[in-house]
Subunit: 355 residues, 2 copies
DNA sequence: AAATTAAATGTGTGCGTACACATTTTAAAA
DNA sequence: TTTTAAAATGTGTACGCACACATTTAATTT
């Protein structure tokens, strides 16, 4: 049919017996077209399958887009370091298309500084923003500022749907907790105790963590026949009683497994298990951080659930670029698969570029 | 630095004090340039970071690329049906860029017809080819034909590295078998038997399957402390003794788990386990086929390893388009992660568009 | 009917690259 | 030195779209 040449605006104009200008006005409905001409053009449009050449469109406009990325300081946290890698990769990928990405980092212990940073971002007048809104209350006024300037923003890691972002990239946290529960439960036949550990310097994403715990508990309500107790810890490594609390937990002879809700906490828990020689306690945690990988390979950690922070950032930026540059709209919510990482498949994840 | 305008060929020409034509000749080294001019241009190139505008480049050439996809008949096999979905998605994705994908299907039971099909493909004079070379010997002459016409080809599913394709998309099969072994071994404390089942109408990808088995066995050689026996079956559902062989296997009271190496065979084995009420035997299989999902959800299948045929095809075509249209080269081998699918994370895989 | 204004339509140019072709410079032959 | 060929370099155009601007046509007003 359509082999060889593609249909161009010019072709439509010829078929409709009008000029390309008129076709252009119809296509983008910017008025100033007579009913007669409109009818002629739409009639042609109905018969043929016109697909605008996105390449040509983009070449014409040829704007240099500036994107701002707001993330927690990657130098003090391995999780956000991975996020940063995603930003760097996106930067490299889109540089040829004239996209620049400026990263703005904030201190996860200093909520109040956040809004100031948002202001600072605005002063650079970016064309779009990607951010990880880990401070709920402090993010809301930032969103308002962005909307006032009608700067589109994409969220990742944590969703705040009521802010109506252009898009969200992340995971279903409740389901993530369920996966954790499933993995910890696998092949456990005797009764005993499971522990859920939230290890974090701050409670900054407690909603985040509690959502996982909720899913974890739901799973057991639905699936468990035998009697199992779930104990719950919210631990701060800076708390003087931190060591004590953990040691006490490990002293429990009936302890069968530990589910750690944070990526950083995973390796902390693992080092305790290692120190006490508790290789038989199943440990489930989050993310492919170097520390975690070490413990996964040595068998202390049994499973890691991959949140793929790198890819979250990468896709967030791609989402924005597609919107700005190609005027292409992607689904407003992209939920990543809940990847289960084991000793045997971990390398296949590390090897492949995107994942 | 580089904010605002990007460096264009025109800019380089001005800086070097030559014309754009000369710069063009240097960039694409098509000769006809004096040593002096060459030096001037390369000197400028060393100082600045020129990145050609891929959009403009593509617009200029503006060829309509025709890609041929060679796959087994998707109407008779759910696995290849998924592959076909990937091709269809790629088709939709690239249609706007003037790329057409023609699918050529072959009968997996008729090896001899394959070379004829390859000939047929060549007659349509495609600009590139993606194929799943499941017939090793029959594929070799096809590759030769493609190379004679210098038509680039990308392989997926099965690799034939010695044919030096433009790229390969697939998985590490040995490691895949290891993952299967790891999952089957998880939490098994008593001694017993594990079975490896190759269920397939034909032995067409036996190398494929044996590679998985090799990895499976290697894992046990390295990890198992307790005594476990591995039994091995190569089954053909069309064989009259098929039922008997399977029933006999299930009669073994020490049987702890089954690892099925094929996607289709997975649901076949599952239906037997269901029929005999053997819910305690761990079953590991391949791929998110509808049949398999049913058994995974009902708990007959414990784990599925996702080969992601859809994405393999999708990426294979993208690889080719990037090569042809954007002259961008991707890594020549893309090994997908070995995704472990469970009851609890399966929906997160089905939901997300790409995975 | 002529003049004025508004509406409708058409024309032209730039975006950055690649490539064909025209022009200039240099080297070799007469 | 002039002629001729070859090498080097420069110029112009197409690719498809968007948008600014020029031109034409229709509707009002004088």
């Amino acid at each position: 049919m359509d082999i060889g040449k593609n249909i161009r605006i010019k072709d439509i104009a010829k078929l409709a017996g009008v000029s390309v200008g008129t076709v252009d006005r119809v296509l983008h409905n910017r008025g100033r077209v007579s009913d007669e001409a409109l009818k002629k053009v739409t009639s042609v449009m109905d018969q043929i399958d016109y697909k605008p050449n996105l390449i040509a469109r983009t070449l014409g406009s040829n704007k240099n887009y500036k994107i701002a990325a707001l993330i927690p300081d990657p130098t003090v946290d391995a999780y956000w370091a991975q996020t940063n890698l995603g930003i760097i990769q996106a930067q490299a990928e889109w540089a040829q298309y004239g996209v620049t990405v400026d990263t703005f980092t904030f201190d996860i212990f200093d909520k109040n500084a956040f809004i100031g940073l948002a202001q600072e971002v605005l002063e650079t007048a970016p064309d779009g923003i990607v951010m990880a809104p880990i401070f709920y209350h402090e993010s809301l006024p930032a969103f308002e500022l962005f909307r006032d300037q009608s700067i589109p923003y994409v969220l990742f890691n944590t969703n705040i749907p009521e802010s109506q972002p252009l898009g969200f990239i992340g995971q279903n946290l409740n389901q993530s907790g369920r996966v954790g529960a499933e993995l910890i439960n696998l092949g456990q036949h005797e009764s005993g105790t499971f522990a859920v550990l939230h290890i974090d310097e701050d409670v900054h994403d407690s909603i985040h963590l509690l959502e996982k715990e909720k899913g974890f508990r739901e799973y057991f309500q639905e699936h468990r026949k035998h009697k199992f107790e779930i104990v719950d810890f919210i631990l701060n490594p800076n708390d003087p009683s931190f060591d004590n609390q953990l040691e006490q937990l490990l002293a429990d002879k009936t302890l069968k497994g530990i589910f750690v809700s944070t990526s950083k906490g995973t390796s902390v828990a693992a080092s305790y298990l290692e120190k006490h020689g508790k290789r038989d306690i199943r440990l489930i945690g989050y993310d492919l951080l170097d520390e975690n990988l070490k413990f996964l390979r040595s068998g202390i950690i049994d499973f890691l659930i991959n949140q793929n922070p790198k890819r979250q950032a990468l896709l967030g930026i791609s989402h924005l670029v597609n919107h700005l540059m190609f005027k292409k709209s992607a689904p407003s919510m992209e939920l990543f698969p809940l990847e289960v990482i084991t000793q045997q498949n971990v390398d296949s994840y590390l090897g492949s570029g995107i994942h």
